[in-house]
Amino acid sequence: MTRPDPGGRRLHLALETDGDGAHPAAGQARSRAAGGAAALRGTVGDAEAGGFTLVTFADGPLPPRGGGWRPEAGTRAALVSTLTDRIGLAPTLHATVTEPFHLATQLASLDHASNGRAAWVVGAANGADAHATVGASPLDADALHREITDVVDTARALWDSWEDDAVIKDVATGRFLDWHKVHHVDAEGARFTVKGPLITPRPPQGQVVVLAADTLGLGGRADVALVRRPERDAVAAAAAAARDAGAALVFAEVEVLLDADLPAAERLARLDGAAPWQPAGRLRHVGSPAALAALLAGLARHVDGVRLHPAQLGTDLPVLTGQVLPALAAEGLHRPPRPGATLRDTLGLPRPANRFALAATTST
């Protein structure tokens, strides 16, 4: 099954920026992570200059594997929001171990701070250790699915709780806002309720872009389904299924380790010598930049974008921006975002109408 519009085969390119890279030994030689601001600025700045559509910031309530450091993802994304002007910023926030109201506020604020470039990778941490950080216990599969859908629905309702034209600044009557246009949402989840409205006015994009693994079963609640499968055919099949389930866009997850100072195979052998790179269920490309460009061009028949997980950010990112993205651009497969564009603009997603404004229009 191919994309609905194979004529317009264009691939959005996302980059996962967490730590030193996807390989567990990524930080051995030269750690960019140590969690500090300089590495973060460097990685995101390079990704933007190289033409990536968006960067994602993986996260979790526990220390990363191996016991390193990891600052909270929303804070990382916010730091670079004022240092960039076109790349999308997508932190992972876990629906299971946060307050839905804080989560919605943080993402709306990121969208304001970035002038419309915020996205959310829906996290669903459900281990005993993750829940213990908030004094809670894991959920069974049904309860977990319900909780995640409840949190997404609540965040989306809160993002609509201020209509776009709620602030009127009417000096004659002294009214700063029109209270008819700022709404209680009365969200009712299985395990929580939220009154609303949000403390933050509607995000510039109307709704922050939501990315979620297809396996979370969010269907059309997510704007972008992230498909993680170990083989190309499986990716194609899952992409078609995700589209049928309502996802507007589908991105494939791809791990990459490229020829650089050393051939890719040799780099992999050295890294694996320190710690083996266990399969994580994603497509994996170990080889030349040209072969990666060809792989991605083939994927573009099935998916709208890819999220790349470089084995070592410090080594693989320069190859991606220096060789792979230019090769895709030359074939008309990729176009960098325009300065000042919102992420929805870049992704070709419409700015959603506000549910409350719509309700008012329908009822009159």
Binding site: A37, L62, T75, V80, E99, A108, H112, V167, I199, T200
Partner: protein, 445 residues
């Protein structure tokens, strides 16, 4: 500071004392004037960036963001007369951290409706990513009306709010200490009715060690929390006599906790009106007050107490002669102190007497009883003299400015008052350090 100046300092007088300045940017509420033409957008990131850069130019210690976790209401609807709508504080300050290099970034964060480990982690992240410029202004709430936005709304009884706050602060400090001491196991466990968690530190210590802790509560519980844990107090005691009494009280509490008398910087909140002449300043203060208590706001103020719609009453006429509802005060305006939440009928009786005695209209009465008078109204030179006196006599270590109009409330201080303070040797002429802790001249951890 030259050593010679230190030599002449006494416990009661320090001629080398420096004024520390912060800005408490509520971003919402009745004190903020929005009616002036050209007033900047209160939600645009550019407005916040302009303010932060202005404060860096003025060599301020810190920029504070306030917090309010529910949009204020009146009579069950969103209150429409005040500036409303604000960002998440930590997110916004991280965005500012990217575009600034010196200014301290202080987030007001509530201990009741945050998960302790998550809050500690977000604050540590801001601290690390700003290279040691973060602070946490610790506040509490018991308010179930606010809690309606959260998973466990209204779970905390009023009398337990500082017990919870202390537990949250101690858990946060334990997580930060676990990150700092290089131990392999960075796990912190708490298992009480008020604080339950098992979490590991995930963020390394910043250049200043951990976020600077601010506390603002003025109740006995708040003062105890300050004495036990805070580095800075955002005090409500701004008038000179009150400031002196507060400083003495705090120092005696600090002694009980075994902390030195100068372990906590005292920064009273301050509204400031600067004029070219005294009369100019007074006129400006009057104008601000009239804007802040506009006729529709005066009616809304009384509605809160009467518990009923008073829109038919003339703000320039006498007080409503109908009886107020029996119920106690509606908490939906957000920040009414506990002692003001009860006894409203007696309060209304007093207002009726005052209005009758002085023949006050509704708007005149409300201006009289509700307007917060700016404690510092005068020329830049007068204000600089006054502030220098506060710090030299150890009544305070500086002030936390509450702006009323943007950006003029702040440009007046940066461009007019700061140079006067510098002339008096009471204000830095360049940042000497890079961290918030260094700006505040707090002892290293």
């Amino acid at each position: 500071m030259p050593d010679a100046v230190h030599a002449t300092a006494t416990p009661d007088y320090d001629p080398g004392a420096q004024v520390h300045l912060g800005v408490f940017f509520t971003g919402v509420g009745p004190q903020l004037i929005w009616t002036e033409p050209g007033a900047p957008s209160h939600t645009a990131i550019e407005t916040f960036l302009d303010v932060a850069r202005l404060l860096e130019r003025g060599l301020f210690d810190a920029f504070f963001l306030g917090e309010g976790l529910r949009v204020r209401e009146n009579q069950g609807r969103v209150f429409d007369l005040d500036v409303a709508g604000r960002p998440d504080a930590i997110t916004q300050l991280a965005a500012l951290a990217g575009a600034t290099s010196r200014i301290g970034l202080v987030a007001t964060q509530n201990t009741t409706y945050n998960y302790p480990a998550d809050l500690a982690r977000r604050l540590a992240s801001l601290d690390l990513l700003s290279d040691g410029r973060a602070g946490w202004n610790i506040v509490t709430t018991d308010n179930a009306w606010t809690g309606a936005n959260f998973r466990h709304g209204g779970w905390l009884a009023h009398e337990h709010r500082y017990e919870r706050a202390t537990g949250v602060v101690e858990a946060a400090k334990a997580l930060w200490a676990a990150a700092a001491d290089g131990a392999r196991d960075r796990t912190v466990t708490r298992d009480t009715d008020l604080v339950r968690l098992r979490a590991s530190a995930t963020v390394p210590p910043s250049r200043q060690g951990r976020p600077v802790l601010f506390q603002a509560g003025d109740s006995d519980g708040g003062r105890e929390l300050t004495a036990a844990h805070a580095d800075v107090v955002f005090s409500a005691n701004t008038g000179y006599e009150k400031a002196v009494a507060y400083a003495a009280d705090l120092r005696s509490r600090l002694a009980r906790y075994g902390r030195p008398a100068d372990a906590v910087r005292i920064l009273p909140g301050a509204m400031v009106v600067v004029g070219d002449t005294v009369k100019d300043a007074q006129d400006k203060a009057r104008w601000l007050r009239d804007e802040q208590v506009s006729p529709p706001r005066a009616i809304a103020f009384l509605e809160q107490y009467w518990g009923t719609d008073l829109s038919a009453w003339d703000p320039d006429g006498p007080l409503p002669d109908i009886e107020p509802s029996e119920g106690e005060l509606d908490p939906s305006r957000g920040t009414i102190a506990i002692e003001d939440r009860t006894g409203k009928l007696a309060q209304i009786r007093k207002w009726r007497e005052l209005a009758a005695e002085r023949d006050l209209s509704i708007v005149q009465l409300v201006r009289e009883v509700s307007a917060r008078r700016p404690p510092f109204v005068g020329t830049a030179s007068q204000i600089a003299d006054e502030w220098t006196r506060y710090v030299r006599t150890r009544a305070a270590d500086g002030f936390n400015i509450v702006p009323q109009a943007l950006p003029s409330s702040l440009t007046d201080i940066v461009d007019k008052v700061v140079p006067e303070l510098q002339e008096r040797g009471a204000y830095r002429t360049a940042y000497e350090g890079t961290t918030l802790r260094e700006h505040l001249a707090l002892p290293p951890l």
